[in-house]
Assembly symmetry: C3
Homo-oligomer: 313 residues x 3
């Protein structure tokens, strides 16, 4: 990256939009911010006097708390809103709700929503910065960025690595966001899982699709296990959680197929003994809790960069 | 106003209690605070080390968020409480709950409650400052103050203006608070709406009551549209939302009767195409979002003045 | 206490664990912090840049708000979590949830939980400090510390005083915590209430158990009344609230048996005219609201001491 690189986006909506250079710039910035949380005083005044609204129309804890802590460590003023505590319950349109938030001279809106593209629509209609904290099955850029940060930190690079993402790809914004980011940075991405959950169509985007776990694990540098939602079972996507676990769970048996330094990742919360055995979750290859730690650094970086971009406002 | 004017009230309960001089003093102070939210660092240390409890026994988002941001921009310490997260659910009396809050050496209590007069009762029994964020159909002083601030900012004055307030006057604390404030500052106030919702009794307070929209719009400098609650329909106050909208909604047709610079106001959240057409809500006469922005400045002023009044405590 | 005494625990789980010297040290520290809340600027930078998570798996208002204000007055960064806003609802284990919180580089975890010993289990498995804000019927150390602080402040000492604790001892973490603390500091502790709620087994710990109110009140320096939960009535622990009140409530009649300077205490929220008559609750012997005020000072002290103990981390 050249020294004169400058972040110019007022929003972070999807890794699909970003260049490899922009993604790398976020990861580099996050490296600096990671040091802040390791200090005795875990705080910098970077966003002092700025207002951030965390608007989680779809409920969330992990992501919301991670953003909230990132904002506090940047010294921002913070307001939390949920769907139930918003005027949406009174029949107000989403755009009117957000315009009202904006009228309070808010600088950044961190937003999660069930509908694909909700944040894109909002970002086009408000002058404050919008950070996508997950929209439907579409995009969850800060999750993918923290996954990539963790890979780069552990492996020293992303280019040329084989990253296997296992599970319910169909409904996963984490999988899509990782795909866009990892491909741009030159990784080989493999999607694996039951055929009902991993359609062949993804191959058009440049990933390899396979329906047998062994194939995905073969030579993988990183194995990222997606959370299985219990409600998919009743919807008929697979016969039972038990059967899913038998064919696609990582256990002491099939972990032997992996290289000794393969990273085991999971966006959490994990279903112990479903996507992976407890011994694997807590084993030496697991970097699951480090992902959580890195999420904070990545979110501080994103908040900082987007807030600093006064250009479009 | 003379230079030696000094705010002396420990509470803000109702505009009914205030003199014209006091109301003007709040508006003047809000003008200063409006500048704070336009700065790069939207924050002053005015309430640093002071504790504010936002106690919303009746749920609210817009008003609560506006107060919370105002408090943050004054650097106060803030705790939010709702009825469901208070000991009220355990059968504790309202006064005991508030006395317990006061015992935590809280400086200001911002309170919303369904019962008319709840805040007056509380204010007489605690030494901390009490700010009424809405009690029943009675009083909502900061909403009226932000309406008056917006009128004064746009029109340069309030005295002599014709302000028409349209809709469900009967159940509206916004209408009553505007009435008290506007009359004190010399405006002509007209209440209009269906006869079931706009009883003649209001004339005793000095407003003009009319039941035809045309009469209210005639020569109006400001038209303030109140939100129609859908539940009023089933209670028989009017035949249908549709009929209400036909007789009392502002649309491209009847907006022509207005002077070109008439302000269209609404306390929000708006019901698009009920109280007003979408084109009117987003049109050049609408100052609805500016009201939201001004609400923050007005609330900063009220918090600042009430907190600074150590006299009675 | 010698000048060189130093706090060395990374957690505060139960007064059962503490020495008399440690308890006294907390009370002494709280005395210093009480002055902070009496200042005009009620804030010190002691925990600036430290992160505290309030994780209330069992709902609470009074204790949560008291901790939250204590944390704000120490300038900590604060995140609130409840069971419903945690991944526990997604089937994550308690330990995994807490390990995820810890991975966000959190310094202190203030936790309430229905299960006896939950906090002990967690404290052994995380490196951050854990403060017990109540676990089941077991332990609620900060409540007992604020009771003891109030007694010491009013009476000048704890040693040799007769402290009567009246009510539902069986289900009360407040009673157990007071028992441990008061006995260590040399008080005589009497438990009184219906035989169903005050089993003789407590005598093994060194308290006196009695089932007639008169005996408990006789010569008492302090009378601490526990809240009666209405659901105990349907569970058959006593015939009716009315009957409980007649036999174990403090009223204008039996208060005459007390010494004129006996303190009337209650952890709140009080049931007026059940555990005590309104006239007693608001009378000159009552220090119930002072307990609330002192709770803040005690919690500031505990947060400060535990956060400062970097030794074990």
């Amino acid at each position: 990256m050249t020294a004169e690189f400058r972040w110019t986006r007022k929003d972070l909506l999807s890794l699909y939009d970003l260049s490899a250079e922009e993604i790398t710039y976020i990861l580099d910035t996050a490296e600096e911010f990671k040091k802040v949380s390791e200090r005795n005083v875990k705080k910098v005044p970077a966003l002092r006097g700025k207002t951030v609204v965390n608007f989680f129309v779809e409920p969330s804890t992990r992501t919301r708390v991670s953003f909230e802590l990132a904002e506090q460590r940047l010294s921002a003023d913070i307001v939390n809103m949920t769907a139930s505590t918003s005027s949406l319950t009174k029949g107000e349109s989403l755009l009117d709700t957000v315009r009202n938030i904006e009228a309070l001279q808010v600088d950044l809106l961190v937003m999660r929503h069930r509908a694909t593209g909700a944040q894109n629509f909002i970002a086009q209609n408000v002058s404050c910065g919008v950070i996508n904290a997950g929209d439907g099955a579409h995009s969850h850029p800060t999750q993918a960025l923290l996954d990539m940060f963790t890979i780069r930190e552990k492996k020293g690079r992303i280019k040329g690595l084989k990253v296997a993402i296992i599970g319910d790809i169909l409904h996963s914004r984490v999988a899509r966001s990782n795909m866009w980011g990892l491909l741009k940075l030159g990784a080989d991405v493999v999607f694996a899982g039951p055929a009902t959950l991993v359609p062949r169509e993804f191959e058009e985007a440049g990933v390899k699709v396979c329906h047998r776990l062994e194939e995905a694990l073969e030579g993988a540098d990183v194995v990222n296990l997606l959370r299985i939602q219990h409600e998919r079972q009743s919807a008929g996507f697979f016969p039972s959680i038990n059967e899913y676990s038998r064919f696609f769970g990582i256990n002491q048996e099939n972990i032997k197929r992996l290289k000794p330094d393969t990273l085991i990742m999971h966006p959490g919360p994990i279903n112990r003994d479903v996507e992976l055995d407890s011994s694997v979750a807590d084993g030496p290859n697991s970097v699951i809790l480090e992902q959580v730690t890195n999420g904070l650094a990545v979110r501080m970086a994103v908040l900082f960069l987007v807030a600093g971009c006064g250009g479009k406002r």
